[in-house]
């Protein structure tokens, strides 16, 4: 018995010494929407992070040092997010991860910038990267880069002259709606109906009947996955047959699963999706499914990529240097060939926005079919 304890102590000492020899773990801090309205976003993001860290650590870590992350809950409330980010920054992490809600990013990014810590977040609102913050990085397309592609497609391919917009009335939906409305104006596309919906809404009959009354050439749908599925069902029930266009959240596998037949014909621009016709993404999806028993949405991918962004940047620098991190990530191109964890080639510009391949997909017989590959710009 006593010798058992002794052996245990010895083992602990030895392994601690080993860890020390490798260098202390690299501390990361994640603040995300783990409860409240954004819990689905936050938990996907968190799981993506955990999966990536587990992978990297089993392969020996970054520059021989393990990664270690603390997760804090913003309760989907910007005030709490601010407090948690403050707490995280007080502990001087290497990089700050999250939050996912654009509002929470807005209230926390000045703190990270003040502390000189890079912040890799999930928000998609256009304005986030336009304030000249040198420490803020996206993991996905901002709306300012995805919406022009959508508007162009609607104009060039669908030849629609009037479009109904359906959006969810939160910072995600409102942001997308505002950007696309501007883009439509550039193409002289008329907004036939401008319909706001609530998060968690179950009954879209009234919204669809408004679309029906406006008889547009196409419908642009910008809702979360669950509401997208209900919307598609209702559109089918009221037999609306014009083209349906959306973004990642309209054409995901989850929507197909939930909406069934009604999803057929829906098209969308997709930046990050587990359905992308890319082998590395497919492999990621399998790994995630195996670990967590469900298929992640794009937020799962974002969390995963955030960690590999850190890995790639750090390895490029050849040292763990929080102060230099942001500078080194600006203008960096990470190739999937050399860093498979990044899944697709990606380049970061001076604002922290990303450039990556995108896809235009359509649901055909319950399957995503890629209609166009929108190449990386440079």
């Amino acid at each position: 018995m006593r010798s058992g304890i002794f052996a245990g102590l010895l083992l602990a000492t030895v392994s601690a010494a080993a860890a020390f020899a490798q260098g202390a773990p690299i501390k990361l801090a994640n603040v995300a929407e783990l409860s409240g309205g954004g819990a689905t976003v936050g938990n996907n993001w968190k799981n993506g992070i955990d999966l990536a860290i587990e992978e990297i650590n089993t392969k020996g870590g970054v520059l021989g040092r393990k990664l270690e992350v603390t997760h804090a809950d913003s309760q989907s409330n910007p005030g709490v997010a601010r407090a948690q980010v403050q707490k995280a920054l007080d502990n001087e992490p290497y990089v700050l991860l999250g939050p996912g809600y654009s509002g929470s990013v807005k209230v926390t990014s000045p703190l990270a910038a003040e502390a000189g810590i890079a912040q890799i977040m999930g928000g998609e609102a256009a304005e986030l990267t336009q304030g000249g913050n040198k420490f803020l990085f996206r993991t996905s397309f901002g709306q300012q880069s995805s919406m022009p592609k959508v508007a162009k497609y609607i104009n060039d391919e669908l030849k629609a002259k009037s479009v109904a917009i359906v959006w969810v009335n939160n910072d995600f939906g409102k942001g997308g709606r505002d950007v696309i409305t501007k883009e439509f104006a550039k193409h002289n596309i008329k907004v036939a109906a401008d319909i706001s919906t609530e998060a968690g809404q179950a009954d879209f009959a009234a919204d669809v009947s408004k679309i029906k009354a406006a008889s547009p050439d196409a419908v642009f749908i910008y809702l979360n996955e669950e509401e997208s599925a209900r919307m598609l069902k209702e559109l089918k029930r009221q037999s609306i047959s014009v083209p349906l266009m959306g973004e990642t959240t309209l054409v995901g596998q989850k929507v197909v699963e939930l909406a069934g037949d009604a999803a057929n014909g829906a098209r969308g621009h997709v930046g990050l999706t587990t359905d992308a016709p890319v082998d590395l993404v497919k492999a990621f999806r399998e790994k995630f499914l195996k670990k967590y028993n469900y298929v992640p949405d794009h937020n799962g991918l974002k969390g995963y990529l955030a960690i590999y962004m850190i890995k790639a940047t750090t390895e490029k620098m050849g040292k763990v240097d929080a102060k230099a991190f942001a500078d080194n990530l600006h203008g960096l191109t990470i190739k999937a060939a050399s860093e498979p964890g990044i899944l697709m080639d990606v380049t970061f510009d001076e604002k922290g926005d990303i450039d990556r391949q995108g896809f235009l997909v359509e649901i055909v017989d319950g399957k995503q079919v890629v209609k166009q590959v929108l190449p990386k710009l440079n």
Partner: protein, 291 residues
């Protein structure tokens, strides 16, 4: 015109969902002055219980039976014995607060032990649409509506035709007198908790294929049911049903003809007006127990 009909039918279908949830609400209030802020979560949970049983490998029918039994145990008996009984004599408010805490606890537990993701849930009503009076209606909505009607008929029969029903009514109207004339008041109150648990389990079974099994799906439902119960009449089963249907329809009409951004406001304004000018609700009777 077909447009309006469409809205009405769709509103009734959603309203029937609210109504089902609202009925249990009014039952608890009537017999035990419990305002259950966790009622929405009560509807959310049974679906997860059933999913859990299914994950363990049981077939759907067995999951339904076990899910309902577990609901009776947890949401009926457990809720009453562990939370309501110790707090009832301290008045309405502390108990109402405790049910708020319960709602948080239930959501967090489901998120933690199950998933933050929405899970699809099998439907006992076959998917598909039928055409009625030129309007296409989904079978699921019809199923919910049918169940809501069945519940009213069933409950009305139970309350008015059986001796247990009479005893429950006596308990609801005046527990002191009921006790004196020999009604087993305690058992009757327990009955209503079990009935509520049964109703939420049924509602869960019917609603979840539409709403999806998600830890947060109770929030919207709970509040809508709340409003439905008050608008219809807090102390009448048929009031709750009428209130639910009305709120469903009003919500749809508001979205179509007023503003989608303010659609949620219209039922609330209706609620305020009703409370101020007819506090007992459209079909309710004035409260007899005053302070």
């Amino acid at each position: 015109m077909s447009n309006l009909l469409d809205l009405l039918v769709a509103g009734l279908a959603t309203g029937a969902i609210y109504a089902l949830v609202a009925v249990g609400f009014t039952l608890l209030w009537q017999t035990s002055q419990t305002i259950n802020f966790a009622q929405g979560e009560f509807v959310m949970l049974p679906a997860f219980l059933m999913l859990a049983v299914m994950h363990a490998g049981a077939p759907f029918w067995l999951a339904i039976i076990l899910g309902i039994l577990l609901s009776l145990l947890l949401l009926g008996l457990g809720f009453k014995l562990l939370l309501v009984d110790p707090m009832l004599r301290h008045g309405v408010l502390p108990l109402a607060i405790a049910t708020m805490a319960l709602a948080i606890g239930m959501k967090e537990a489901v998120k933690q032990f199950f998933s933050a993701e929405a899970s699809p849930f099998p439907s006992i009503v076959p998917a598909g649409d039928v055409s009625i009076l030129g309007t296409v209606v989904s079978l699921q909505s019809l199923g919910v509506l049918a169940l809501a009607i069945a519940v009213v008929i069933g409950l009305t029969m139970l309350l008015n035709r059986t001796s247990i029903g009479h005893q429950m009514q006596a308990t609801a109207q005046n527990p002191t007198v009921a006790r004196i004339i020999g009604v087993p008041v305690e058992r009757m109150i327990l009955m209503t908790f079990l009935i509520n648990a049964f109703l939420v389990a049924l509602a869960s079974l019917l609603i979840t294929p539409i709403y999806l099994a998600k830890f947060s799906s109770g929030e919207v439902l709970g509040q809508a049911a709340f409003i439905a119960a008050i608008v219809g009449g807090f102390n009448q089963v048929r009031g709750a049903i009428a209130g639910g249907l009305l709120i469903g329809v009003v919500d749809n009409l508001a979205a179509a003809y007023v503003s989608t951004q303010y659609r949620a406001a219209v039922p609330l304004i209706l609620l305020i007006v009703i409370i101020l000018f007819r506090p007992q609700g459209l079909l309710g009777r004035p409260e007899e127990r005053t302070v």
